[in-house]
């Protein structure tokens, strides 16, 4: 058995990219500061030395241009990884990543697929203000033709990103700046994690908590607190947003009869509302209360530290939602 080792989330992402680039010359990385700067968040540190400037490519600050360039390259069989320094900046490339990447297969009647990965930081960092704190999942997951992953720990980050790079469709990989330095066990040996499969982070019988990426940690904090009150939560780490592992949620809700969705994006027309709608449809007779939702507050992300922390879908809000949902249990 291989030695278990602890590595950082960013190292796991780097290993996924490097391993896939070693085994497939069609894979390359491009983005702002990925090469000589070693990555704005040090995700691609050292990759320039190994792969050289032809495969680890610094781009100008032209998100629309380089995202589109990556998409165009897929039409001739290449498999780019495009790093957005932040998903907030991907809005500048919205036409390319929403109009071209996910639709080219359909618009060309099956002639051209688009095997590309877009990845970068999503959600609030630390006091970055409104323009730099976007949670893009609800915006982009609305578009058919793309897949979306949102890993919460180093193990999943590596396995999911490897799957994403091998996938024949455009995959949006949402990372969190707040998680890049966390460490976790990652096996030495090769592995992949299929896109679209959730995992149970904590077993419980009283209420299902559905989390995505960073919110899984908020769910864990809340579950600790609630356990003291005798409420045992089951935490599902969805890991993928599209496809969404609805079966995993349904199985859990049939056991607990209560469900709280914790989604870092805004509540209106969101991942959280989508999950709620699907769970209401699939588990109508199993639910003892309607699905409760915890989101970021419906305001632009503030700069001030305390306000920003309060805006997030944090443990206190989750506890309140679980108590409210399960009051009749």
């Amino acid at each position: 058995m291989a030695m278990a080792r602890e590595i950082e989330f960013r190292e796991a992402l780097r290993e996924a990219m490097s391993e896939e680039m070693r085994s497939d010359p069609r894979v390359f990385l491009l983005g702002e500061e990925v090469a000589e700067y070693h990555g704005a968040y040090k995700v691609s540190k050292g990759m320039l030395e190994e792969f050289g400037p032809r495969r680890v490519i610094d781009t100008p600050i032209s998100e629309s241009g380089f995202a589109g360039m990556g998409i165009g390259a897929t039409m001739l069989g290449l498999r780019p990884i495009v790093e957005f320094m932040s998903w907030s900046f991907s809005l500048v490339a919205a036409d390319q990543i929403m109009n071209n990447a996910p639709k080219i297969l359909y618009m060309s009647g099956g002639q051209f697929g688009c095997p590309i990965v877009f990845r970068g930081n999503d959600g609030a960092g630390g006091q970055l203000g409104s323009t730099h704190s976007w949670c893009v999942e609800s915006l982009y997951a609305n578009v058919p033709g793309l897949k979306m992953i949102i890993p919460s720990d180093p193990h999943d980050a590596k396995g999911l990103l490897k799957s994403a790079i091998r996938d024949e469709n455009p995959v949006f990989c949402l990372e969190s700046e707040r998680l890049l330095s966390i460490k976790g066990d990652v096996p030495e040996e090769e592995y992949v994690i299929p896109i679209g499969e959730a995992v149970i982070r904590r077993s419980g019988t009283d209420c299902t908590l559905v989390g995505f990426g960073r919110t899984v940690y908020f769910c864990e904090q809340a579950a600790e607190e609630l356990a003291k009150e005798g409420i045992e939560c089951e935490i599902l780490d969805m890991r993928s947003i599209r496809p969404l592992d609805l079966d995993a949620i349904i199985t859990s809700v049939r056991k607990t009869n209560y469900c709280v969705v914790v989604d870092q994006s805004w509540s209106f027309a969101s991942i959280g509302s989508e999950v709620a709608a699907e769970v209401h449809k699939a588990c109508f007779d199993d639910l003892d209360n309607h699905v409760h939702r915890v989101h970021s507050d419906d305001v632009p992300a503030p700069y001030s530290h305390d306000l920003e922390q309060e805006m997030l879908p944090h443990a206190r809000k989750i506890c309140e939602a679980v108590r409210s949902a399960t009051y009749n249990a």
């Binding site: 032809r54 032209s62 629309s64 165009g72 390319q96 071209n100 618009m107 009647g109 099956g110 051209f112």
Partner: protein, 384 residues
Amino acid sequence: MEEWNPLRWMTRGTMSTTTTTNLKAHEVPIPGLDVLKGWLLDMLRIREFEVRAMQAYQNKLAGGFLHVYNGQEAVAVGCIAAMRHTDPVITAYRDHGHALARGLDPKIGFAELFGRIDGCAKGKGGSMHFFDRDNHMFGGHGIVGAQCPLGTGLAFATKYTDEVINGGKSESVTACFLGDGALNQGSVHEAMNLAAIYDLPIIFCVENNRYAMGTAIDRCTASGDQITNRAMAFDMEARTIRGMDVIEVYREMTEIVEWVRGESRPFFLDIDTYRFKGHSMSDPRKYRTHEEEVEFEANDPIDKLSRYLTSSKLMTEEDIKAMSKSVRSEIREAVAWAKQSPVPDVSELHHDVYADSWGPFTGTSLPRYMLKEQTGEGGDGDGA
């Protein structure tokens, strides 16, 4: 407001080069009769295709938006004739001419316009999205300028494949067509900058038909009378050529393609042309005068090549009439064939969304005409 000068392109001179190159367009030999006949056939076919497409649109056989290419035929035919068949071509939504010049069978084009299963995109793309992989035609793109980053990606991919994967020398040249209206899109500037800093073998072929939809170039484009200025900002070679003479387009493009292939550098080509019809079918053309249209129609690229062929005694007027007649009949049959093609089954709705099957999605497959070609039918079309 300055009075519009419809013959301004005549007075602008035959060529303006922002930087000196060793290109010698006038030394490119004029091809032999067979090739010239092929070009005439291609241009007639495009014109007739568009005439029938407009008719079909009026008859509600085709829906959506229809942007026809009448008047600009020499651009697509001349440029594409100067390229290798494997060199990628990409354009915007006025795309029928490029697809046909690349060898798309007109009947497949009509089937797409009519939203039928035998279309190049199974009726899912429509007029603005003609793709034809086997003929290295990469669309057909609906958002103004958005094809330019994609075209830059095509050039990046050929160079990467040739040099990084295969360890050889960059061999392909990408032609990325755009209209003059696209010059004011940020994505075009970003694409040009990327092409310049990465030394990509791409030609930005600006089909300068003087109007961004209905807005004249001098009303919306700074230094619109000399758009090659924009290339200078990217340290890119540039040239203005006349686009109504297919032989001239071919000779200029031949040299430029050779230069781009040899140097692996981008090039900005300003091609002076004119859109005989409106922007789309709903365009009353109130922004330009009838006199102006008449002036330009006198420079019809098809007449120009026809006159060259007859005055050089290469073809007689009867030969050309016979060719026109045969094209009319071919296109009429193509329309009839496309009308017979079935509309896509509703199961197509969830097909080609993802490459794999999950949930309601049923994977993907190539369009029918490509499967037929793989069994030996079809071919390169009859371009140059």
